[in-house]
Symmetry: C3
Subunit: 404 residues, 3 copies
């Protein structure tokens, strides 16, 4: 460990790992409880990957003693993989290791180039746009309408952070935090600054993402964000179930309509399975907070996400129970919109407009649950949110949810 330790007066330890403006870049670094003479078994470790398409990718692994996870500053501060007491969190994509944005051409394959690097547990879609690729109309530098290709899920996951720092809060209790600043900006284009803090506490089963997205322009601008939280084996398995306080559920298209009866149940890996996507509205508690979870077959292990419906009002379920080779995976996707093409979401009034200098804040918690008791408590909590509410399930695509 090396860094500016300021124990005592200010009980927080801070280490800057990257700061473009100040010319700071630290290739390898780590800190652990031992550096503070504290009990426990937690650490933060930073290194740089080498070779292949991972060459030059920075990763930061936080291990709180029970839960560990790996943040990728080089890929927009996404979270690659996690593990809680031996339970892997994330999935096995055909793309095995983190891909440096240098190797991603978002425009490739008709705007699907994003998929060449898609393997994260948690990846943000956005910020200028997200969702299906396709043509949108922008105003160019000449003030003229210009048709441009919006590529799948936008740019943020393929932009490296300009600032990266770690903080260890020592009082009132220990908190481990990785912070990053990612700019999605261009001359005559969007200028969005995302400041993220990803934190956890020793031995907890939870990590918390706090993102603040600021419009740095002098004019209003659009913003979209969706958290693509993906789970594969072992949580996802034949008999696994999705639990959430569903208010409305609609299939995205005919293909999803085929499986509407069992939209919340998962089958085994099935070669050739074509993805099914469901657009949902969830119910929240008194303050608008809600929770969704994936439970394994025998309800002994689960993963959940918690968020505010006022921040992330639209919830998408991605069922992609294709073969293991193809990436057997399901996704919990809370967002500011559904992942349809931006032009459709705009028409539906589901694209955020940020005033000059305005900041959109999102908090998302991801937890892992081990043990029947613990999973049962989680189920109860989610069911409690549904009290008095009936789920409306549409058998066919619904006007306004998906383009027709």
């Amino acid at each position: 460990m090396s860094g500016e330790k300021t124990v005592g007066v200010k009980p927080v330890f801070k280490k800057v790992l990257t700061d473009v403006d100040r010319g700071i870049y630290v290739e390898s670094w780590e800190v652990s409880n031992e550096d503070f003479g504290l009990d426990g078994r937690w650490c933060i470790k930073k290194c740089r990957l080498r070779g292949g398409t991972s060459e030059g990718v920075d990763i930061i692994t936080v291990d709180n003693g029970a839960l560990s996870f790996t943040v990728i500053p080089t890929r927009g501060m996404g979270i690659w993989k996690g593990e809680f007491k031996g339970l892997p969190l994330g999935w096995e994509s055909p793309v095995k290791s983190p891909v440096h944005p240098h190797y991603i051409n978002l425009e490739a394959r008709g705007g699907l180039g994003w998929l060449d690097g898609f393997n994260e547990w948690v990846v943000r879609c956005g910020l200028g746009s997200l969702g299906a690729p396709g043509i949108d109309t922008i105003i160019d530098n000449m003030g003229r309408r210009r048709e441009v290709m919006l590529t799948l899920h936008g740019r943020i996951a393929n932009i490296p952070a300009s600032e990266v720092k770690c903080r260890v809060y020592l009082e009132p209790s220990v908190k481990l935090s990785v912070e990053g600043v990612v700019y999605e900006r261009s001359m005559f284009g969007p200028n969005l600054k995302m400041t993220t803090e990803i934190s956890t506490t020793p031995n907890s089963n939870t990590l918390k993402i706090t993102d603040r997205i600021e419009n740095l322009k002098s004019t209003p601008d659009e913003m979209q964000i969706l958290y693509h939280c993906n789970y594969g084996v072992p949580l996802l398995e034949d008999g696994a179930r999705l639990v959430a306080p569903f208010h409305k559920v609609a299939p995205r298209d005919e293909r999803a309509a085929e499986g509407i009866e069992s939209f919340d149940e998962f089958g085994p890996p099935e070669s050739g399975f074509v993805e099914q996507v469901y657009f949902c509205k969830l119910v929240g508690d008194g303050r608008g907070y809600t929770k969704a979870a994936l439970l394994n077959r025998d309800r002994t292990r689960a993963a959940s996400i918690s968020f505010s419906l006022s921040e992330l009002p639209y919830f998408t379920v991605w069922k992609n129970t294709n073969s293991l080779e193809e990436g057997y995976v399901m996704g919990l996707e809370p967002g500011t919109s559904f992942p349809n093409h931006k032009s459709f979401e705009r028409r539906m009034g589901r694209v955020v407009n940020l005033k000059p200098g305005e900041t959109y804040e999102v908090t998302l918690e991801l937890s892992a649950h081990v043990g029947a008791e613990e999973v049962r408590r989680l189920e109860d909590e989610i069911e409690g949110l549904m009290e008095g509410v009936e789920t409306e399930i549409f058998r066919n695509p619904v006007e306004g949810f998906s383009p027709t």
Copy 2:
């Protein structure tokens, strides 16, 4: 300092910083007057930026004691920023630090990807093409006509130099020089070699760019170059004025026509301001040299550029007095053509044709002027060029200048 010093016989000190063929690459280096036991306060400093989208960008800062400027070998030997006796030269783009070409996809956003890295004081547009993006027809490897996208302002600003060296001339007087070779080449494509020298002398207010662009093909080929010289605050301000020996001035489009009465005057930052572009023909002196300048409101500070009308016959003025956040900026743009789409400029006979082995040479001087006296002298000089010539100002776009 380390390098091959050859004082005495050959009074020039040379340091090779990059040479792909010889496998030379120097990450950090500097030299100053002290290394030669000379008086003064000049130096040349080379370093590599780290982190974010600046990761791996090489920059070379030359400080002559009064004027300093930063060359970016990684971005085609453009000049990022400058400063003269405390006066900043350049502008504040929404894109804050130099962006590595790895992060630029010129094809993105309908061919506007160039804008994702646009923040230089002086950036070359070219060499195979420049100007607005759009479709052009090339002859492909099969000898067939093929429609291809020409992207905004071409490729040269996003190609790293293959050779970079610094030279310190000690006799007859000290000259500091940064030299680079940038190739814009492809199999079955253009093969243009640009050799540039960017130099200055101790305590001078001027830097000189000398570019030689050679067609390495065995057949004639087209070439375009335009020097996009950009100024923001503090020189650009409400009341700042552009001074140049205008012979003809025409608005590019309706939007520019709106402001034709005050095309040479600048207002304050104005959110939502849509750029206005003016196409001009300037008057030169007996040898064809001319000069254009931006003066601040109270005429105490100015920046000027000098060039030859035989080398750069077309002069474009870019007014983009948008908000500070959006990049409050104006551009002086001498070029071999106007920055319309290449197909239009070709039709107008304004695209250079280089014979096999032929070299096109351009010299451009950029100066800074501080003090009312000094600025007055500059104005007088430019007005002197206009003697006997009347400016013709077109109120509407002119056929042949802009596409109609």
Copy 3:
């Protein structure tokens, strides 16, 4: 030298240079006969290029004492250049040094971006597609047909190897080998794993490429591969001749038809020469092996390639005797198909379908021949293959060979 030497028990020395999964990357390394106390003059040398568009390109040069060649792990394990007893193997492209894939945008210039990095002696085209650029229809993640651009010659040459190792076999006799694993994969896309071994023996005139391409998907998938083996001066010269056991020869297009009479003869560099391409079926020996060679004018030097017609049944000849500046070059191109657009080759039944887990294996030998005697023997051998077979030469493009 440093590595795991295991002389004695297992008479093979292995050095891992890159392994993404294990976090291994070796920047510089070499091994030679001296490290084993052996006679000879062979070595393997690994280094990383610096500067320009070659920045970060890894190259491995194998010198067997007579034949040397340079493998580029960063560019899909292609072979840049070779030399046999002073005879250069390869060609002089306008693109002078190996270009890092970071600088290649395959989508650029209407899908011709591949040409920006094309300068290898041996470059693989493939694996998901190869040949002329153009639109193809894929099934996207939603199970819908989507039109995408297939770019010239596919992706494999611009993907860095994820694993690179060198092996020196000491028994029964010395063999020098460079091995690499390159993945061409994407979520919802192809997932092809190419494992290559490129090997030679001390003082031999031959290098051997053994490629195994495995479909890692759970469903059948298409695969294409073509070995673009290119020769320029001094082998290629006015009077040089191509010798191969031609069964059928057809011009690709009208332009090639113009030169059908002398399709196997080469003229001097000719500025403005438009490429001529011939599609051929060759004859093999009893086991299906065949050989093609380029002979210099006075038949004292030659280069040959040997391969199996069951692995690479289609043979393309590329005549590009343009000026030296433009890349005076001819290509021997054995492939799983002709290099027409994939959609045409598919229609003709010439695209390989790999079952899940199936591997396609290709072995290709490249040899150099010096001395009239040696060249004569080579000619005799190739003529021997033709025994009893007559060559059918089509004067015009043939339906089924080229699109009409």
